[in-house]
Symmetry: C2
Amino acid sequence: MSKIEEFRQIVEDQIQMLDGMKRPEGLYEPVRYVLSLGGKRLRPALCLTSAALFGDFSSAVIPAVGLEVFHNFTLLHDDIMDQSEVRRNQPTVHKKWDNNTAILSGDAMLIKAYELMTKSPVGVLPQVLEVFNKTAIEVCEGQQFDMDFEKTIDVTEDGYLDMIRLKTAVLIGGSMKIGGMLGGGSLRDCSLLYKFGQDIGMAFQLQDDWLDVYGDQESFGKRIGNDILTNKKTFLLITALNRLEKESKKELLDWIERKEYQAEDKITAVTSLFNEAGVSEIVRQKRDEYFFRAMENLEKINGKKEIKSELQSFAHKLMARAR
Amino acid sequence: MSKIEEFRQIVEDQIQMLDGMKRPEGLYEPVRYVLSLGGKRLRPALCLTSAALFGDFSSAVIPAVGLEVFHNFTLLHDDIMDQSEVRRNQPTVHKKWDNNTAILSGDAMLIKAYELMTKSPVGVLPQVLEVFNKTAIEVCEGQQFDMDFEKTIDVTEDGYLDMIRLKTAVLIGGSMKIGGMLGGGSLRDCSLLYKFGQDIGMAFQLQDDWLDVYGDQESFGKRIGNDILTNKKTFLLITALNRLEKESKKELLDWIERKEYQAEDKITAVTSLFNEAGVSEIVRQKRDEYFFRAMENLEKINGKKEIKSELQSFAHKLMARAR
């Protein structure tokens, strides 16, 4: 079992053991429900791995769980705002209970996340909280930009990249920086960890968008073209809208607005418009830019060799999914 | 100008100066809107007064603003859950904007509150955050109990009192305890401040409920009997439901369910049922119990005499409204 896998297990066990959270049932049952749905526990696992790079990871365990609780809080509230009905193959909280329950249980999770972060050793507590506060507010900013972008087709590529950076990548970076701090890493190394995490997060998100259109159906696991059918504003769509000539752009917008069509027809037509705009190559280039910068920054970190190589192979595996 | 009034002004100025919070507009405009609606700034003013009891209050200013931001976060999210349309004579955020905006801007306020609390001096930071975490989660628990109680008539007097303690009183207690810690008060004195604040909060809430029915219209300022007309679950109603004989209880429940009536008739009938149950005297006794215990605990605190007497007269003024 890899180190990261080991850390994931530690986090999973801790989540099961979270105390308090009994009465009122109506507040805490949804919290336990959300936390029991699983997930990759990526952020806390990367937090612990980052701590282990420099020394003992034990003081990072509880704050790492705090990062996972925070992440699940964002999913819970985002699901209300996006009216999503399913999360990890189970009904979302606002579906299983109601909106009020989802709002208040989410609030309780955000507070619980802070409670767990506060258990960082006093010596690094102010620094850890500074990173956490900044990350947490940026995630909200990212969600707001995302909702703003849903209402317009006028989104620049840079604006879009900044949105996904805030909405998803900073929390990976923040989790790793906090882990580094708790493990006793230097300021310089912790900053490099932040950059590594943020860039890997960006590369992963772009890869995920790319795979939806250009991936291999079987190894990707999800249905190809799903983002196209749901008109999801991915970096591919934004790039195409920004780069297509007038006529082709109009055609793309028509497909977005059309209500009746055969799924295969829409996927084929939109993919061909993406191809016309050179989207695949642009996205892969952007992805590689983030990926290679991440690997360069990881290289510069002064930490335990075996943990560094764990992070390297983790990054490679993340990108290797059905490329 | 009293000290408390002075502190209120300091908080007001700091709120105007809160930095950051620019982009995205859609996230931060509602935050500034809510914070600009005014209010008594009671919690931060009491926090600063508590700090001044022991020494220099200056390190408490920013955390005190954090307490006010937290309080306004709870109002913002509660207003969504309660579908309230007006707050401080202005449209609520979810009315002026929409639910999603109110959810996300509330989340940002909770994080901002923590950011401000984190600016406490390192020496007391863990203790301050411990009190704040506990208080914040209890406020959520109180809101959940409140929502649970809306769905049933089966609420005990003790259960009801515990709900208002969690929903409103603990934040007054917590604000004062945090202030005491930041001012350098002893553990014992800070605990006494917590008890004082919590009990005053309880006494005030009971007084407010009592005034709605038994107050003097002109000096109370609000319309007498409003809680009766809206079937608000106050301590008076809970007490009556728990103490009335079968027939009278049925009559009270009938009035609660009746859809068509003259306002004056309902107020007269319900008030007379309250009188039958001896509600007025029971509530005043409960209120006085809290009030006098609060004053006793204040007496025990070792702090500056002139600030203690400020707190005494503040407490008396709070209770003297149209008794």
